[in-house]
């Protein structure tokens, strides 16, 4: 499936998953993002890279934050942007996913940013779009959220520089988390020393170690000496689904408080893909504290998405995958 992401010349065409992408490509995405960070500080916050291109934000699942940052990223690259919340329109009338795509294709768009509740949806769309169209995975089911992972990597690099000595703990609902799966790929590809997954057994997937993590069921042990703590959002439905007894007990065992954070290195950074549940997975003293980089993640998200959009559209003139090997 990894070949699907590259065109015949080996250039990035779709961005569906971190799996199968080389370290050099990930570094190039971050380098490109770095070059875009200054755009937001300019008086005219635009570059003309994607002028004349049409990008469709195709959201089959609601998301304000991700959609907004993709929209801003596209607009700062001078693309025309169309936002479609399909959850409440075509497919609700019985139209198939493929028909929805075909109809939009007929409007001569250039790129789809897809958010869907089911794993593999972005792959399915990428397999069926016309050859000139790129597909960016904006989050599919539990599978992947690769742009979120890249903005997290960018944030880590800004604070820590070298990835190789880092120990990173991902805490919470790894079972249902597309963010965690993409982060684990990215962190391991970038060569960190150790990736840990921390959570109760009900929220750790089968054969989790095969993903490339060390599993902990105790937060204090999982946080010991880590450089980066990534907290995952806990969906409230997990209580009714018999994954957890109560928010209260979850917070008592896995909520990130200053006392628990003290097990990590003093300069550890705390991250969260948002939106955060204060008092459920994270204490406000940590969320707003000196170690938190949560708002920076949001800021960097725009530059990173600009990098990915432009590279997938080849306007960035990135090297071929072959050249990167």
């Amino acid at each position: 499936m990894n070949k699907l992401q590259f065109d015949a010349a080996g250039r990035l065409r779709h961005f569906l998953t971190i799996e199968g992408l080389g370290r050099d490509l990930l570094v190039r995405i971050m380098d490109t993002a770095q070059s875009f960070t200054s755009v937001s500080a300019q008086q005219v916050k635009k570059v003309p890279l994607l002028r004349g291109k049409t990008i469709v934000n195709l959201f089959f699942e609601n998301s304000t934050r991700t959609r907004t940052t993709f929209e801003l990223a596209a607009k700062r690259l001078s693309a025309d942007v169309l936002n479609l919340n399909i959850a409440t329109s075509a497919t609700a009338k019985g139209e198939s996913l493929l028909d929805t795509i075909r109809n939009l294709e007929a409007m001569h768009v250039d790129m789809f940013v897809v958010r869907h509740a089911e794993s593999g949806a972005a792959h399915f769309i990428a397999q069926h779009v016309a050859p000139h169209i790129s597909v960016i995975n904006g989050g599919d089911g539990r599978h992947a959220h690769p742009t979120q992972a890249m903005l997290d990597m960018f944030t880590i690099r800004r604070h820590k520089g070298d990835f190789s000595p880092l120990k990173v703990a991902i805490v919470g609902d790894i079972l249902h988390s597309r963010v965690a799966r993409s982060e684990i790929w990215a962190l391991n590809t970038l060569g960190v020393a150790e990736v840990r997954g921390v959570g109760p057994r009900t929220l750790i997937p089968a054969e989790a170690e095969s993903l490339g993590i060390k599993v902990f069921h105790d937060l204090d042990e999982g946080l010991a000496d880590v450089d980066v703590v990534i907290m995952l959002r806990l969906q409230r439905e997990r209580m009714s689904g018999a994954f957890l007894p109560s928010e209260h007990e979850y917070f008592a065992r896995f909520g990130l408080t200053p006392e628990r954070l003290a097990h990590a290195k003093p300069d550890a950074i705390v991250m969260h893909p948002g939106p955060i549940n204060r008092g459920v997975e994270i204490d406000s003293r940590v969320a707003d504290g000196p170690n938190s980089v949560i708002l920076q993640q949001v800021t960097f998200g725009i530059a990173v998405r600009m990098a990915i959009l432009s590279m997938a559209m080849r306007s960035g003139g990135g090297p071929t995958e072959e050249e990167l090997q």
Binding site: H116, S119, G141
Partner: protein, 428 residues
């Protein structure tokens, strides 16, 4: 001698039920097997089939093949699928009751039989519904279904409301000598999953179905069978552990049999990678250890039968994100090649492999079929075990194109199928 005389000569005749494996002729008279070996004096065939270099064996008996008729003729029809079955060497097949309407009245049984007879290809044995409408709550009119021609009843993978319903189903079916077919799966543990709960499903973020969804259901059924009796046939097992449980139950004398669908002996969860919707099946393709356990189950005879678990779909059924696609593989025509690959990989000898397609399923159904004894109905299959063919439009007869083997080259091809002495398929 009177009637139509057919001589099949030059082939390697493999009839596992009678311990036959030799180069010899087969004589058919008037739709029956007249004898194996040299033709008797005065045998003047109306038709001679040269089977040199080929295997001659009883016609295959497939314990599970969906024909989609009535109710889903856009996917397939009895005519289209029994024709594909004949091309696959299958002379008898059992169709599960999950048609629309469900096979829970004699009228639907008769409709299936009449359409199958008029198609004139493979013989169709309808499995009746265990519960009314397959809803899992009230017993179907099993006595009437039996009178209409059902040999077995089952719930086609639909869950039963509770274990009390299962207990009473087993008791009631036993009153009429009906075999109960159980596709063991606990619906609550399945929990809307769509892939094996293992490394691949975890990596792809596909909601998982644990092996325990099957083993828990097998354990519950075995506990009831131990108390109230059987016979029971466990259909389409997917886990190593379930095979071990069936082996133990059989060793203890419980009246249970079991089968596996051919693709579970060939593919593992690895095939799901890339979100290939044609590998979306229920139960899911499982781990390497499970596949090995299923193969060993066939080798030991714990699994008496290999079925196709044929589930043809229209194209739209597989055109969506993986979890939203409809599970099932169109599998009639890959049944023989996949079974023969078990021979090539040393899991089964050729006679054992043929037994799993003939006398094994016949004994599970308790029907007098699947053998070439003198006087038996002349259901036969002749195949070239080494013939390579590509799965593509020019070779494929099923209306369902949903196979993960599309475009692949497989080995083993049927050249002739005879049902009751009538040539219903001839290839090259």
């Amino acid at each position: 001698m009177t009637g139509r005389h057919i001589l099949i000569k030059g082939g390697r005749v493999v009839d596992p039920a009678n311990g036959v494996d030799a180069l010899m002729s087969v004589c058919l008279v008037d739709g029956k097997v007249a004898g194996l070996g040299s033709p008797p004096d005065g045998f003047a065939p109306d038709l001679e089939i040269d089977a040199t270099g080929r295997i001659v064996c009883p016609g295959f008996i497939d314990l599970s093949a969906r024909l989609r008729e009535p109710g889903q003729e856009q996917k397939a029809t009895i005519a289209s699928e029994t024709r594909a079955a004949a091309a696959a060497g299958i002379t008898t097949l059992c169709c599960p009751p999950d048609t629309s309407p469900v096979v829970d009245t004699p009228a639907v049984v008769q409709l299936l039989q009449e359409r199958a007879e008029s198609a004139g290809m493979a013989r169709v044995l309808p499995v009746g519904a265990l519960t009314r409408g397959l809803a899992g709550k009230e017993l179907s009119e099993m006595s009437a279904l039996k009178q209409a021609g059902c040999l077995a009843v089952g719930n086609a993978g639909a869950p039963l409301a509770n274990l009390l319903v299962m207990r009473r189903s087993l008791e009631y079916a036993a009153s009429y000598g009906l075999l109960v077919v159980i596709r063991p799966e606990d619906a609550s543990l399945k929990n809307n999953g769509c892939a094996h709960e293992g490394a691949v499903g975890t990596r792809l973020g596909l909601p998982g179905i644990p092996a325990s969804a099957e083993t828990v259901a097998v354990a519950q059924a075995l506990a009831l069978i131990e108390q109230v009796g059987g016979p029971v046939h466990f259909a389409q097992l997917s886990t190593r552990r379930a095979v071990a449980m069936i082996a133990q139950a059989r060793a203890e004398g419980l009246p249970v049999t079991a089968d596996v669908a051919a693709h579970y002996t060939d593919l593992t969860e690895a095939a799901v990678d890339g979100f290939n919707a044609n590998t979306h099946v229920s139960p899911p393709l499982r781990s390497e250890a499970d596949r090995e356990g299923l193969r060993q189950g066939l080798a030991s005879g714990t699994l008496q039968a290999i079925c196709s678990d044929h589930q043809p779909h229209d194209v739209d059924a597989k055109q969506d994100a993986f979890p939203s696609t409809v599970p099932g593989i169109a599998a009639l025509e890959t049944l023989l090649p996949l079974t023969l690959s078990l021979v090539r990989s040393g899991v089964l000898g050729l006679p054992e492999a043929i037994a799993r397609l003939t006398i094994g399923p016949a004994r599970a159904l308790e029907i007098n079929s699947g053998h070439l004894s003198p006087g038996a109905t002349a259901d036969l299959c002749i195949f070239d075990p080494d013939k390579e063919w590509q799965v593509n439009d020019s070779n494929w007869l099923s209306q369902g194109l949903n196979t993960p083997y599309w475009g692949e080259t497989l080995r083993g091809r049927v050249t002739h199928t005879l049902r009751a002495g009538r040539l219903v398929y001839q290839g090259n």
